[in-house]
Symmetry: C3
Subunit: 184 residues, 3 copies
């Protein structure tokens, strides 16, 4: 007999959300009020992220309407930029290394489903954006993907697998289109 998806059998009890329920509820409200909102005070956002367990470096810029799932799953280096309406859906751990930039409307997506299983099991993948890399506006980085140092994902592209360092990718799925070279 042909097997079918049965979402009533879904079971993600193995997944550890981190924090306790009260902390998660607090963050949910803080995120709604101060991150996923027009609230513009950058230093307050950095303070709040750290308060809830994120590791955040110096010179970090966080624009309005950013949506962060779990700050305790987030590590941000120095001089990192997070653009307006960026969505960090970090069921898994997200690392944004020094001088990386995630532009407006981009999404870092850590959750996936095992679509070959009846119960559509949750799969969580960490995302790492290495030093100096640039995730363009309206891009999506898929679960488990590592963005190599100084790689560029162009506007609206979908990174479904690792990006090589110093390389520029475009499309869905993103393909390497050229090298990146930085000149003085």
């Amino acid at each position: 007999m042909e097997l079918k998806t049965d979402l009533s059998k879904f079971n993600n009890s193995w997944y550890k959300k981190g924090g306790n329920p009260a902390k998660r509820l607090c963050w949910y409200m803080v995120n709604a009020a101060f991150f996923n909102s027009a609230f513009p005070v950058n230093s307050a956002k950095v303070f709040l992220l750290r308060l809830f367990g994120a590791r955040v470096g110096q010179g970090v810029v966080i624009k309005p309407f950013v949506n962060v799932k779990y700050p305790w799953n987030l590590k941000i280096g120095n001089h990192v930029w997070i653009g307006e309406r960026v969505w960090i859906d970090n069921l898994g751990f997200v690392v944004l290394n020094d001088n990386s930039c995630v532009s407006q409307g981009a999404m870092l997506l850590c959750g996936n489903h095992h679509y070959k299983k009846v119960a559509f099991d949750l799969i969580v993948g960490n995302i790492t954006v290495e030093e100096g890399a640039w995730i363009g506006a309206k891009c999506v980085v898929c679960p488990g993907v590592k963005i190599g140092s100084h790689a560029v994902l162009t506007v609206g592209s979908i990174a479904t697998s690792n990006l090589l360092p110093w390389s520029i990718y475009q499309g869905n799925p993103a393909q390497k289109i050229k090298e990146r070279v930085i000149k003085g």
Copy 2:
């Protein structure tokens, strides 16, 4: 003489929005307050959808910031998931059958325009997502498209025509890339 678009000639008076103006205004406010917001109580959302004419099955999950145009144009089966920031722009009728999943940031788009006409006439198309299908994060399903049973539309892909059952599609426009098989 070359004909041009003239939006002042647009006329959608033939289109029946459903409900009466008071009901539509009520839904507009309910949607803003309880759906397209951080409001997290799933059972209240199911109750409200049914109150405004949607048919909603058992075990349905509706995440925050979902945007529903007209609930009276919506039928949801059992054990269906609707992810965060999903946009159901249902000028036409949308059916989400049992065990289907519409992931975060996806859009079900029922409105189109006749771009070969001066008046840019409105064209409305219904959308059906068959049993067990999965619309990935940040996808768009275009007007009139039927997503076959257990089809998968991968992250950020654009379904411009029907998707065959048990098939996985990717890209813009989405193309079939492989079969889906569910194992025990």
Copy 3:
């Protein structure tokens, strides 16, 4: 030695935001309250855009949750439609000519970065959408791009270079797929 991105060296002091700081703060709040919100009164939005320096023609439709960066960088012709959740990120000047339509969820993106430079310098490009053109839902128009008269950018496509008039483009990057002809 290999040169790397250093965002601490970023310097956009040459960039003129327009208006004075008080005016910009006012607009930031007006945008949050009346544009990027469920506020539905079209005539009030046209009034406010003009008050803050936009040039806006007759018969313009502006749907809810539109996000406008700087109204003084915006010129809208007659009978132009701006759909729900359109994002006009106009660091540069944006012109929407008569009878053009920017559909729901689309983005007009005027900011770029010089990724071949250590300081990741800001690059600003103006966007022009010519008469009768149609930017489809969830599209992105990139900095410096001109959309030719009556061109069409299909749903979810990314315009990275100019679109020829009377032509239909699809994909990322958007490629011409056919001609547009308007019949009586």
